[in-house]
């Protein structure tokens, strides 16, 4: 026990001595949490909208006025011709162009129906889908006004059947993106810091040659490993705490569930990450190699965690791959516990899988660590 204490002491001294690294470990993640959480939104607003009005009647102007009034559209200009509009679309100045054809008003009143053409830049397919919904909503509401104005009310018409749907958004009634993203990004930062630090730590001693000196001492393998990893466990838990406080104070993230449960889960989760870090350390010779491997896994873990893009949208095989992704479980749990108030019973499957990973990774890591070459 005393030996472990000394190793831990040595590690902490090394961490706090390195003035270049301290801001990277503590300030950088927190800055990123505070700033970048604002960037992660799929909300579509400020749509760059332009129109070509060949009709130039009161009806066409009324339609354009509807777009002007909408909060989603940023009506930029009107183009005199289609060529001008296409060029603006190519250079990225506008994303949605509405073309009101000649005789729009006349067709609507005489022929009883009129066409409108809408062109949407669809490179971002998801955003284009939403933009199309917004455009249709405005056109429909305009259409309703038109019908109200012109329809002959004296004529008896059959009422169409309508199904009224009432959307109800639970747990996040205002559809606030930050509520969703802040816990996820916090998970990510805790993971990256602990993985990179632990992955580089032992291999660094290997590269500099000080590992040999430790290997010839009577320190036992298990003591050494515990002593090495414990400081990073503390750093991880510390980051989580700072992150949660900031989430509450700055973003007012709801915390419905038990924080104790979250901490209990995190304490196991960090063990998984430290195990992976140690494993990487054991199988590499230089810090460069260790970093590459850590980087490889982190990018895959992040993008396949359901943090930015939903897992259920992935193809089946990819969903199976995500089962082996520890970040996925942490992201799920932090959101479930904080935002929905899920309890131990709800998160038990994820908890057990994480525990299994923790045991597996650490057994593998300890087993593959060799004091003698």
């Amino acid at each position: 026990m005393k030996t472990i204490g000394y190793i831990i002491q040595k590690e902490f001294k090394q961490i706090f001595r390195n003035k270049g690294m301290l801001p990277i470990i503590f300030i950088l993640p927190i800055l990123q949490l505070v700033i970048l959480s604002n960037a992660a939104t799929y909300e579509v607003k400020n749509i760059k909208f332009a129109y070509i009005d060949y009709d130039r009647t009161s009806t066409s102007r009324a339609l354009i006025e509807k777009f002007n009034a909408s909060a989603f559209f940023n009506v930029l200009t009107d183009f005199p011709s289609q060529e001008k509009a296409s060029a603006a679309m190519l250079s990225g100045e506008v994303d949605v162009v509405m073309e009101i054809p000649n005789h729009f008003e006349r067709n609507l009143l005489k022929e009883k129906n009129a066409n409108l053409s809408i062109t949407i830049n669809a490179i971002d397919g998801a955003a284009a889908g939403v933009e199309s919904v917004y455009v249709n909503q405005i056109v429909q509401s305009f259409n309703k006004d038109v019908k109200m104005n012109y329809m002959d009310t004296s004529k008896k018409i059959t009422q169409p059947v309508t199904i009224e749907s009432i959307p109800s958004f639970w747990y996040n009634t205002t559809l606030d993106y930050k509520t969703f993203m802040v816990p996820g990004i916090l998970v990510l930062l805790v993971t990256m810091i602990t993985l990179f630090l632990s992955g580089m730590n032992i291999v660094r001693e290997k590269e500099i040659g000080t590992l040999e000196q430790i290997n010839v001492t009577p320190i036992r393998k298990s003591q050494f490993i515990i002593g090495k990893l414990f400081p990073f466990w503390i750093i991880g838990m510390g980051l989580l705490t700072i992150g949660l406080i900031l989430a509450k104070v700055i973003f007012n993230t709801p915390m419905l569930g038990s924080l104790l449960l979250l901490y209990a889960y995190t304490s196991i989760y960090i063990l998984v990450i430290l195990g992976i870090g140690l494993l990487i350390s054991n199988f590499t010779d230089t810090q460069q190699q260790a970093m590459f491997i850590a980087w490889f896994f982190v990018v895959i873990f992040i993008l396949m965690s359901g943090l930015f893009t939903p897992i259920e949208s992935m193809p089946k095989w990819a969903q199976i791959v995500t089962e082996f992704n520890p970040i996925k479980y942490f992201v799920e749990i932090v959101r479930m516990v904080l935002l929905k108030g899920s309890g131990l019973g709800d998160i038990l499957p994820q908890l057990l899988k994480t525990l299994l990973f923790a045991i597996l990774m650490n057994v593998l890591a300890v087993w593959s660590y060799r004091k003698v070459n």
């Binding site: 992660a40 799929y42 909300e43 190519l90 329809m151 959307p167 559809l175 810090q287 893009t309 709800d346």
Partner: protein
Amino acid sequence: MKRFIGFIKKELYHIFRDRRSLFILFGMPIAQILLFGFAITNEINNVDIAILDHSKDASTEEIINKISASKYFTVKQILTREADIETAFKKGNIKAVLNFEKHFSRNLIKQNQATIQIITDATDPNTANSITNYINAILQNYQQEKNRAIVVEYQIIPQTRMVYNPELKSVFMFVPGVMTIILMLVSAMMTSISITREKELGTMEILLVSPLKPFQVIIGKVVPYIFLSVINAAVIVLLSIFIFKMPVQGSLFLLGLESVLFIITSLALGILISTIAETQQAAMMISLMGLMLPVILLSGFIFPISSMPVPLQIISNIIPAKWFIIIIKGIMLKGVGMAFIWKETLILIGMTLFFIGLSVKKYKIRLE
């Protein structure tokens, strides 16, 4: 010049000797682009939903059938009580509940109107919103079928054309992004590490006292990585064309030139990092922790920049990846030429010069 070539040779030996790093350097981008090209999508597919049907009549059955027949939804659970909704959401196995009111069919026939509540788990606001929109579309469709007999007057018919990506494939959005991230991180990380490594191991001293000029040392370090990254870029472009069927509407040659420019920008950033960082550890942490998230989040790779708060939109301008993504999308999907992307190109050139200038200024030829 001969000395300089000798130095480049030394660097190449270093790189090719380390088989493991080399394997990672080439294998990783390929693995990543394949994995992400297929897996990363924000399209709605096979969402698990539950039904709470208080009337269980012909109309509700028709609607439920319509919904489960669509590829977007799978009806996973049939709930019987309102209280079950909370439990199901907390376990996290369903994303939405359709709640039909009592006497649905009767209301629809007698009063021409009936009500459905769409309850979504909005912890993920984007998915919740999309689910609501998709279900509404299905309901609209159902109503239209019911109302077919009625003639509608004064109808405006919007005809929507989706340009550049008519099938709304999310691959078109994500492949340029993944390509940018890989090129940026690999290039910046490689150079910053290889320079700080010499510092840390003490061999930088030897290089500094050699007759090579400092800038020759730096350029010699960078040249091999330009080659490696160009190969990487070429592989990624080939994969995206042949596997993901990304079109190249514009000139492939221009795409190549722009890629080389972006690689040089990233390498210059790597050099700058190496002048700041003293140890490999610091260099790696800066290039990984410092670059990864900002590049993913602020480049317009996943999240649209125009929706961000204004200060972040301004910050996003200093991310080189943002400009490169605009360039690739322009050339590959829109088929534009230099006339449309000269501004972005100039910005990248400017950033490169700035990084190099700053590095030269900060580069210490003496050891402390």
